[in-house]
């Protein structure tokens, strides 16, 4: 026996929303430029951080020279592995001995 042929409307009613085209709720903010991405967040006393990476792979870090950076007005801190030593071990998926 063949199934009865439904109208589009009846079929959509039967699906109760599944497969229906939906407009998004979040678009309202994004299309008005109110996305609040990480760089948009401003908090009082907030500092900005940048990461300096090694320019070569598999290098051995002999020395990190912080003095020039710290001398620039507005630079609050230059953090390296030494600054992390007092912290308890970080949870991670791969065990990385410090």
């Amino acid at each position: 026996m063949n199934a009865p042929v439904l109208t589009v409307e009846a079929r959509e009613l039967a699906l109760a929303g599944m497969g229906a085209s939906r407009l998004r709720k979040e678009d309202a903010r994004f299309i008005q430029g109110k996305g609040n991405y990480v760089d948009d967040i401003k908090m009082p006393g907030m500092l900005h951080m940048d990461i300096v990476r090694s320019p070569i792979a598999h290098g051995r870090i002999v020395k990190i020279n912080k003095e020039a950076a710290l001398a620039i007005p507005g630079v609050h801190a230059v953090l390296t592995a030494d600054d992390l030593k007092p912290l308890p071990p970080w949870p991670s998926l791969v065990y990385t001995p410090c």
Binding site: L23, E26, D27, A28, F30, I31, Q32, G33, G35, D39
Partner: protein, 161 residues
Amino acid sequence: MTKKLITVSVNGKKEEKAVEPRTLLIHFLREELNLTGAHIGCETSHCGVCTVDIDGQSVKSCTHLAIQCDGSEVLTVEGLANKGVLHAVQEGFYKEHGLQCGFCTPGMLMRAYRFLQENPSPSEDEIRHGMSGNLCRCTGYQNIIKAVQYAAKKLQEPVAA
């Protein structure tokens, strides 16, 4: 290297601010005026997420100094809607799913806004070329094309009195 006073009209509002000559327009908008709609993306003047409208032209605000806008009129995404009514390009992006993460969207909207004034009835090929200064990592561009087509059609409709 002292600051200079500039007068810029931003989204119709006159702003008088002292800026360092080296301040990029994108930073002026985001930091000084708290208009964070325009975004910083590639830092190489390619991606277009920083696109705004200056004196009737689409410009990448990351490659433009604020001081160059002294006496100019700047339009950003925050100025597209008119008293709460979305502009046709905004409606198009919403209705046609022209965005996912939304990061490129303000730049896309500002460019589409100006592009449709330059070319009110574009072919698909013309849209692709006209929007080629804006990159998107999410959508694959197909719905962005549809969004611009939607807006083009809507802008051609006679306005209700």
